[in-house]
Symmetry: C2
Subunit: 314 residues, 2 copies
Amino acid sequence: MSIDLDRIRAAHERIRAYIKRTPVMTSSRLDEASGASLFFKCENFQKIGAFKARGATNAVFSLDDAIARRGVATHSSGNHGAAVARAARLRGIPAHVVMPSNSAKVKVRAVESYGAHILFCEPTEEAREAACADVVKKTGATLIHSFDNEDVMAGQGTAVMELLEDVPDLDLVICPVGGGGLLSGTAVAAKSMRPRIKVIAAEPENVDDAAQSFRAGRLIQTEKKLTIADGLRTNVGAPNFAIIQRYVDDIVIVSEEAIISAMRTIWETMKIIIEPSAAVPYAAIVERKIDVAGKRVGIILTGGNVDLNALPWT
Amino acid sequence: MSIDLDRIRAAHERIRAYIKRTPVMTSSRLDEASGASLFFKCENFQKIGAFKARGATNAVFSLDDAIARRGVATHSSGNHGAAVARAARLRGIPAHVVMPSNSAKVKVRAVESYGAHILFCEPTEEAREAACADVVKKTGATLIHSFDNEDVMAGQGTAVMELLEDVPDLDLVICPVGGGGLLSGTAVAAKSMRPRIKVIAAEPENVDDAAQSFRAGRLIQTEKKLTIADGLRTNVGAPNFAIIQRYVDDIVIVSEEAIISAMRTIWETMKIIIEPSAAVPYAAIVERKIDVAGKRVGIILTGGNVDLNALPWT
């Protein structure tokens, strides 16, 4: 069993009352600069400030009542934790969120604000997974993984579904890739709705495991390195990669400088706040990693949660 | 002769092909925080990044062909210069923009990008006016003043007209006041379309000439003092004040701290970039200068042109 368009449509029906239908923005200046028609799906305006609200809400509301009652758990240093906490509060069930002890305060406060139970752990993948497994064992909560979860993938796919409802005739969709939850949902939805559309992912070159895996035709794990696009540090998941291999046309990589510059250009030109991860697709256009000339291009702006005291250009 | 709703409607017909119909945004978090329903008219997304595109475009396109051919002139350190330059280019006529020598580089570049002829002068009101009078005399260009001009006022009034078309049942509209171009156009449009609506202006307490004049019932000039809301440093114009006295319900003042804090709150919560002047109405709500409890409140977010290297909280 995997995800398909029916499952993504069902996800949209399930979550639509709890999420925003985000607007699609355009910019004549960025169209001129790129030689393309760009359509930005503004998930920075989504609830909790990121597309993650979609997948987490779908996963939490897909649980049977008896199972849901025992709560949900996840580990996350970022937006997924807030998304699970919010969805659990909406459903009226407990949420346990494991966060690395070095998480940004603003992210911790966001999770707290939804009334979740936070467990801090050492900032390693192993410690996060162990702490999460422990709370699952003790409480009977259901683990909602941030990308290795079909309900999460199906939920993330609803963003491009809305985009294609609003702008049906896109030639190409670009989205960033980290764990691959968004990319797998996006690819299935876009290719199912418009078989001739291209789906291309963009990844920071500092964490290029998805691009390497895509070229090699097998999953390659890489060391987590630092990137300003902190939402994309994760290695791509195995079930996500299987979908990506089947549906995605290409994965390109971009430099850190291009990410920062693209982020600033979008802030200054479009007057919207996006986080570094959300700037990765436009960075790929600026660095000419993707040929967009004359095309109608959809771009998922994944989120807008930024620490205004630590902007990358200051 | 003054402005009325017919003139504002005519302005809208005249400029609609050249400006954006900007979206109205809402925020459940800011509604909760304020106890009101807030509707933000996003003129930060307007062409040239500010509502000023409306008035300048209306004034430039209102000129007879023979007069227009001789060009237009203005003096401005900010958004109005770019708005006149852009409108002139759209009409295919020369524009002369007098700018103080200490103008922000980003503003100078914006005016340049529309192909206007820039004249630099000493950074005083007298020098600006003298340089502008001189270029008008030499070229036969028509002066397009940034607020003391009925076509400009009528153009600025189109923002609230669109807002009331989109959200007809507002109880109250709040907009900032500097020279009074936006406020006079807004007040005439709003009161004509909805006679029972309240129109309240918000002004930085550092440059409270409009509030003082409103209380005194006569125009009071004050020294220009520094405010982070640099778009509002100007004293209110005489024809603008006549309209304000007739149509505006109140003018309240806000502290510099409240402006900076309101600006940051809107950036963080709504994920949009607004300039300090645009934060003044929300600052008035946060400082409880306006009773908004339970009301449906329209707020004009006037612009989004900010130097990202010089944010007020860093």
